[in-house]
C-alpha cells in the first residue's frame, strides 16, 4: 500500500492520539522553563484537526497536510501554533499534487518544514527549540517511506535530547537565561513525538 491521502490522514490521527497521551508530559516540560501550555495547546489543536478530518478526508497528501496546517495556525495560538502550522504548510507545498508520497518527497517535505520553522522563528540549531529536533530529522534519507521516517524520528529524538544542557536563546525559555539549562525543550520533545508517531504509522 502506498502513502496516499488516506495513509497520511491515518498517520495524523495517530499523531493526535500520541500528543493527547503525552499532553501532561509536555505541560510539565513547558512549566519548568516556559508557561506550561505546550501540551494543552497541541492537544487542543490536534483535537480540532481530528474533528475536521471527521468531516471529510482531503484527497491528496498535500491537502491533508494543508488541513493540519490551517487548523493548527487558526486554533493553537502560542509559539507552537504558527511554527507547526508553517511546518505543515511548507510540507504541503513541497509535496505538490502527488497522489502518493515517495521516500524522496518525504525527505523534501521534512526539509521544507524545518526551513519554514526557521524562516518564521529565526532560531538556529543550539537555541534550544524544536529546530534542534527538526534540523537533524530533515537530513533523513531512506529507501522506503518507513525508513526515512524512522531515521527522522531517531534523529529528532537525539536532537531533542541534545537540548537538555543548552541555554535557551529563543522562545519563552530564553527569559530564564542560565536557569534554562538542564531541561528538555518541550517543543523539541513534541517534534520528536510527532516524528516517532509518523514512523510508527508507516
Amino acid at each position: 500500500m502506498g502513502c496516499d491521502a488516506g495513509t497520511v490522514a491515518a498517520a495524523i490521527r495517530e499523531a493526535a492520539a500520541v500528543i493527547t497521551e503525552h499532553r501532561d508530559e509536555l505541560v510539565k516540560l513547558d512549566q519548568a522553563i516556559g508557561d506550561g501550555d505546550h501540551g494543552e495547546n497541541l492537544k487542543r489543536g490536534f483535537g480540532f484537526v481530528l474533528a475536521r478530518l471527521d468531516e471529510s478526508t482531503p484527497d491528496t497528501p498535500a491537502a491533508v497536510l494543508k488541513l493540519v496546517a490551517t487548523t493548527l495556525i487558526s486554533k493553537v495560538g502560542g509559539a507552537a501554533g504558527p511554527l507547526y502550522g508553517t511546518a505543515f504548510l511548507r510540507a504541503a507545498t513541497a509535496v505538490g499534487d502527488a497522489a502518493e508520497l515517495t521516500p524522496e518527497l518525504i525527505s523534501t517535505a521534512l526539509q521544507a518544514a524545518v526551513d519554514g520553522v526557521v524562516a518564521r522563528g529565526k532560531a538556529e540549531v543550539g537555541d534550544k527549540t524544536m529546530v534542534d529536533a527538526l534540523t537533524p530529522a530533515a537530513k533523513a534519507q531512506g529507501a522506503t517511506v518507513a525508513e526515512v521516517l524512522r531515521a527522522a524520528a531517531d534523529a529528532a529524538e537525539a536532537g531533542a535530547e541534545s537540548t537538555v544542557p543548552l541555554v535557551a536563546r529563543k522562545g519563552r525559555a530564553s527569559y530564564l537565561g542560565e536557569r534554562s539549562a538542564g531541561h528538555l525543550d518541550p517543543g523539541a520533545r513534541s517534534s520528536a513525538l510527532l516524528l516517532r508517531s509518523f514512523a510508527d504509522s508507516a
Partner: protein, 333 residues
C-alpha cells in the same frame, strides 16, 4: 487547584460571557473566534487600535476596550497568545477605514500570530501596522534572543495610542506615538507566589516562605533569579534601580509611575510600595507627574508587583489625561 470555574477548557469563553453581561452598553463580545470589541465599532474614519494576548492578565486587554483606548482585544487561552483568525476577526469588526494598528507584546507566540494575521488582513486591502512592546528590563536583550517581554508598559501604550486615535490622529501619527511610548517605557516585576494555570492544575513554580522570584514575567514563567525575601524598601529599590539605569531616566525627567499588582497582592501593600517608589524617585530628582496604582496587568492570582516608568512629554501627558471609558480605566467621561 481551587478556582471558581466549571471546566478549565471553557474558562475563557465562560468568563467572556460574564464580561459581556457585565458591560452591555460598552462591549460587544463574540465567542468564536473570541473578540472583545467596542459596542460602537467600527468608528468610521477613526484609526482602529487592536491588541490581545493570552488570558489570565485581566483586566488586560479586554478591560481596556472602549472609548479612548482599544477598539478590540483578542483574548487567547490562558497564558496563550491568540490565533490569527481571532485577530483577523477583530480587525474586520473594528476597521473604520482609516487603518488598523496592532499593539503586540513581545512574546514569540504573540508576534508570530499577529504577524500571520497582519498578512491576512493586509491581503484584504486594510492598511495595518504593528508595533511590538518590549519594556521588561528583567530580560537581557540581544538580537540573538527572543528579546524583552512586553509587560506593564502595554497598559500605558494602549491608553496613549487609544487617546490619539480617538482624537482623530491618522495611522502614521498613531504608529509614531506607539513607538515613542515603547522607546520611553520600562518595567520590572517580582513574584511572591506562583499562579496556577487552570488547565495545569498546579502552581507554575514553588517558592519557599522566604524566597521570591525577581524579574518575573506575567505568565508564571520563573524569573531571572530567586532571591531571599526582603522588606518593602529593599524590594521596591530592586525593582526601580534597573528601570532607572536602563533608559536611563535622568534628574528632572518627568515620568508616569505605574505601580501594578500581579493580582494576589492587595491594594494595601501596593499603595505602600507606591509610596516608597515615589520617595525614591523624589530623592533622585525625578518628577512623578502622573500615576496609576492597581491590578491592571496581572498573572491570575499570583502575588507580586511590577513598577513601570514612562518618560513623559507634553504630548504624552495630554494623551494620558484624555477621556477614557473602558471597563477597567475610566475618567473624563
Amino acid at each position: 487547584m481551587k478556582k471558581i470555574i466549571n471546566d478549565p477548557t471553557t474558562i475563557v469563553a465562560d468568563a467572556l460571557r460574564g464580561m459581556a453581561l457585565a458591560h452591555p452598553g460598552l462591549l460587544r463580545i463574540t465567542e468564536d473566534p473570541a473578540v472583545v470589541a467596542r459596542a460602537d465599532a467600527p468608528v468610521r474614519g477613526k484609526v482602529a487600535i487592536v491588541s490581545g494576548g493570552g488570558s489570565g492578565h485581566e483586566p488586560l486587554h479586554g478591560g481596556f476596550v472602549g472609548l479612548g483606548m482599544l477598539d478590540a482585544a483578542c483574548p487567547g487561552a490562558v497564558f496563550t497568545s491568540p490565533t490569527p483568525d481571532q485577530v483577523q476577526a477583530a480587525v474586520t469588526q473594528v476597521d473604520g477605514g482609516a487603518g488598523v494598528l496592532l499593539l503586540v507584546k513581545n512574546y514569540t507566540g504573540d508576534v508570530l500570530n499577529f504577524e500571520t494575521a497582519a498578512e491576512l488582513v493586509a491581503a484584504d486591502g486594510i492598511d495595518v501596522r504593528t508595533v511590538v512592546i518590549d519594556d521588561d528590563v528583567a530580560v537581557r536583550d540581544s538580537t540573538w534572543t527572543a528579546g524583552r517581554r512586553g509587560v506593564g508598559g502595554t497598559v500605558l501604550l494602549e491608553k496613549i495610542v487609544g487617546a490619539a486615535a480617538e482624537s482623530g490622529a491618522d495611522l502614521d501619527t498613531c504608529e509614531r506615538l506607539a513607538r515613542a511610548v515603547v522607546g520611553n517605557v520600562r518595567s520590572m516585576g517580582i513574584a511572591l507566589t506562583a499562579p496556577t494555570v487552570p488547565h495545569v492544575g498546579e502552581p507554575s513554580f514553588t517558592l519557599a516562605e522566604d524566597e521570591l522570584e525577581v524579574g518575573i514575567g506575567i505568565h508564571g514563567e520563573p524569573g531571572r533569579s530567586r532571591e531571599p525575601m526582603a522588606d518593602a524598601d529593599t524590594l521596591v529599590a530592586a525593582l526601580l534601580d534597573p528601570i532607572l539605569d536602563d533608559l536611563p531616566f535622568a534628574e528632572k525627567s518627568r515620568v508616569l509611575l505605574f505601580t501594578n499588582s500581579m493580582g494576589g497582592t492587595p491594594l494595601l501593600e501596593l499603595y505602600l510600595a507606591h509610596g516608597i517608589a515615589e520617595r525614591l524617585l523624589a530623592e533622585r530628582g525625578i518628577t512623578v507627574e502622573r500615576r496609576l496604582v492597581g491590578p491592571f496587568i496581572t498573572s491570575l492570582e499570583m502575588q507580586g508587583m511590577s513598577l513601570t516608568l514612562l518618560r513623559l512629554d507634553d504630548e504624552l501627558t495630554a494623551l494620558w489625561d484624555a477621556p477614557v471609558h473602558t471597563a477597567a480605566l475610566r475618567w473624563g467621561v
